[in-house]
Symmetry: C2
């Protein structure tokens, strides 16, 4: 139950690849089997399995094996890590713009 | 004034690189000159300029040249494109989970 903390660097690396982004987009619609992912992407089962492993390790996808079928679905820790990273960048930046605004107001805009 | 729409694929590709993520993190603290970015990263001016070009093209960074100094700062269209992409994935997925919940409730959880 204790999932390791997701490394946002891994998430960015995972989603830097267009095939992996397409997999995440497909899985946000509904879960897919590995072969169901591979066929429309026109890639081999081996290739899709490698991409899935990267996505699993970055907390974006989870897979469950039932009998002989492995079903893949979207997982949320990866998306959450990404959201936090963006929010941190934005908030630091916006705080800075606020301070700059205060400074310009105090100095009459001539600074 | 009419900025071209940011392509989220470009944003992911830009941020898939750890050096470019570090540049964005630094710029969210405060604007930097090109040489001010290059020195702590231990990379050449040419290398940092190439990274900045990728970041500018994906709406994450903007640069302003004043005299001989080029100042780089964070730009928001790239971060916004990224946020939208994540929100779209999440909302599609959460709607699906809601429908699944309804289905399981209706079928008494035996499905």
């Amino acid at each position: 139950m204790h999932k390791p903390k997701v490394d946002v660097n891994r998430v960015f690396q995972a989603l830097g690849d267009p095939t992996r982004r397409t997999i995440v987009e497909k899985l946000s619609q509904r879960p897919h089997s590995v072969s169901g992912l591979a066929a429309p992407l026109g890639i081999t089962l081996t290739a899709v399995t490698q991409h899935l492993q990267v996505l699993e390790e970055s907390g974006l996808v989870r897979t469950v094996k039932t009998g002989r079928v492995r079903t893949c679905s979207l997982d949320t820790p990866g998306l959450s890590a990404l959201e936090h990273w963006i929010r941190d960048r934005r908030s630091t930046w916006e705080r800075r713009l606020d301070r700059l605004g205060d400074f310009l107001a105090e100095s009459g805009g001539d600074a």
